[in-house]
Symmetry: C2
Subunit: 352 residues, 2 copies
């Protein structure tokens, strides 16, 4: 019988963090595409727009006026999904009609006063300020909240409703679904194998080196996980065992700022477009978990970009994916090879 | 303290089928939208397009010529995600690098020879033929496959790459993630409470009647599940305990054809547009499961539509949803009220 080749033959790969499987169909990228094509991201955003509620000096829908901020600026989301107070739903005995309390804070972090920048186009020193802001929010919101989710939706195709460079923080009284599963899987792994899962994983990826590792710096490694689901999904890991963003040293934060600039430049260079994605940080939970043993956790950032073939054709996670299992049209290694081959200088600076 | 009101206060709702939670933020629908707007679905599809590989008489990319079919037409997907044969990945001892065999069949079912029709615009008798085709595929593909996923991606916004009315069937040697979780949760429920979960659930929804039940017929009930995630997500359930699509009686199938026409007409009327969605059937697994006790399963169809505010503004399940938990901007009851208030005659036939 023919020998198995991951880049030729359909197979499943196990995601040990989510305890589920992704269908890998490497041969399928060849199919023609007659479906929806996205608009190319608008590249000519004005530096300052007096109507944009995220710009310095602008009056937001709430009536508050933004300060004339110089680097990051944080405020409470004017349309928050979670609120700190409010009544709790009544308890129900019926297992099929269960409601539970949901409290929290939703905040917006502007990265920079200029609307025409994105993280990869910012100065490393300014990215470092963003990282400090993240760490501060983790500490402050993590005092009372069980989970602090920092995330950036970049690009209209990712539901981002404002082109100004910004991210969000949704902190909650509860452990959401994804971290709740990852809390369990990492705990089980550590109990069984005596090591944090992602610490073990990084060691193994570094040993295999040329398969899925994309960039290495003094303190960080950027890679395509073996179980990646989105076409160009990646993960960013510290070399050291670190539980939470606020536990990073100064050196690690400086190095992270440079690493983020480098990796996001490579992403932008893939299709020579401001690359859309949702990204976010996962680390040990906070609130009462701050007093518990969370040594099975390892801090990591996740990048979920939707594009598949070009700047305008994305991967749709729809019928089969929603009802059965996620499916990808090329292997993690094929995606890694494409990303590794890209120039390290941002396409917008090519002629400089 | 203020009294809790589900339509005012953020809360979590438990999804007993998926064993996870959805964040309900009913107050959030009021926020302004400056984000991506979808193209309105093209409504002027030609009845026959000699270049469309799904039309009768057309030569497909594979070189095969479609017959001059009169109702449904089934063929093997020319770009299948799963293949029946091929080698299996080697076994690995490493828990972090696990691959598993994935075999199966991917088929396409054209609903009708005309490209300018959709299910709600088809004759009930023709929808009945589609249902029979589904049941046949379930039987045939279910002989060797563990799971037969029938699904329809409708609309370009749902990644549908061809406007001709059709659905897909992806049958697999493995139990995919979603049905695998639902197999477990329904089994646990039946062991604990002595009744199939969804049989119990339907009884309770019918008793509450005016909350989330949308349409009732002799054999079927259409409702918004208490734990719905997508803004206008719904579920279609038989009144009788039925394990699989192929177990439906003739009467149940006739009634289902009429019910599908009715419910999809209501969906189209919501924004007076050919309503995009992914839909699919979940029932007891097949293959070797055909010999096992699967009495904890209840057949049901799921409808996941992406639209939120209008024909062109969808709900983005992005950053927070991908990294933490799904979140919705109105309650299941509010969605049910909107759907219940809609006319029962298709907007395209209003003037007839
Ligand atoms: O097979 P199609 O319709 O071309 O493809 C569509 O449905 C598939 C199954 O949900 C997805 O994997 C694809 O991303 C989507 O574009
Ligand atoms: O808060 P935004 O950016 O307006 O909204 C965006 O991100 C949120 C969090 O992922 C999602 O719930 C929204 O659907 C999306 O449009």
């Amino acid at each position: 019988m023919e020998k198995f080749s991951a880049s030729e033959h359909p197979h499943l790969r196990y995601n040990p963090l989510r305890d589920d499987w992704v269908v890998v169909s490497p041969h399928r990228a060849k199919r023609p595409w007659q479906g929806q094509v996205e608009k190319k991201a608008v590249e000519d955003v004005p530096r300052h727009d007096p109507k944009n509620p995220l710009c310095p000096g602008v009056t937001r829908p709430s009536g508050q006026v933004n300060p004339d901020y110089k680097n990051t600026f944080i405020f409470d989301n004017d349309f928050p999904a979670l609120l700190p107070g409010g009544p709790d739903p009544p308890k129900s005995d019926d297992p099929l009609f269960q409601a539970a309390p949901a409290h929290g804070n939703c905040r917006v972090i502007c990265f920079h006063p200029w609307s025409d920048l994105t993280l990869p186009l910012m100065e490393v020193a300014d990215i470092r300020i963003v990282i400090d802001t993240w760490a501060n929010e983790m500490v402050n919101l993590g005092k009372v909240n069980t989970w602090v989710q920092i995330f950036e939706n970049r690009g209209a195709v990712m539901g981002c409703s404002n082109p100004h460079p910004h991210c969000q923080v949704w902190a909650s009284s509860f452990l959401p679904n994804e971290p709740s599963v990852k809390h369990r899987t990492q705990k089980d792994f550590k109990e069984k194998y005596g090591k944090p899962m992602l610490v073990d994983y990084l060691e193994k990826e570094l040993a295999k080196k040329d398969e899925r590792v994309l960039l290495e710096s003094a303190h960080w490694v950027w890679l395509v996980p073996y179980w990646a689901t989105w076409p160009f999904e990646t993960m960013l890991l510290p070399r050291r065992h670190v539980l939470r963003l606020q536990d990073l040293t100064d050196d690690e934060k400086n190095d992270l700022a440079q690493m983020m600039k480098n990796l996001l430049t490579i992403y932008d260079n893939l299709f020579e477009v401001s690359f859309p994605y949702s990204m976010g940080w996962h680390g040990a939970p906070t609130g009462t978990y701050l007093e518990e043993d969370c040594s099975h956790w390892q801090l990591h950032a996740l990048f979920y970009p939707p594009l598949l073939r070009s700047a305008t054709v994305k991967k749709f996670m729809v019928g089969y994916e929603m009802l059965a299992s996620s499916q990808r049209d090329m292997t993690a290694e094929q995606a890694a090879d494409r990303l590794k081959a890209l120039p390290r200088v941002h396409y917008k600076h090519k002629s400089d």
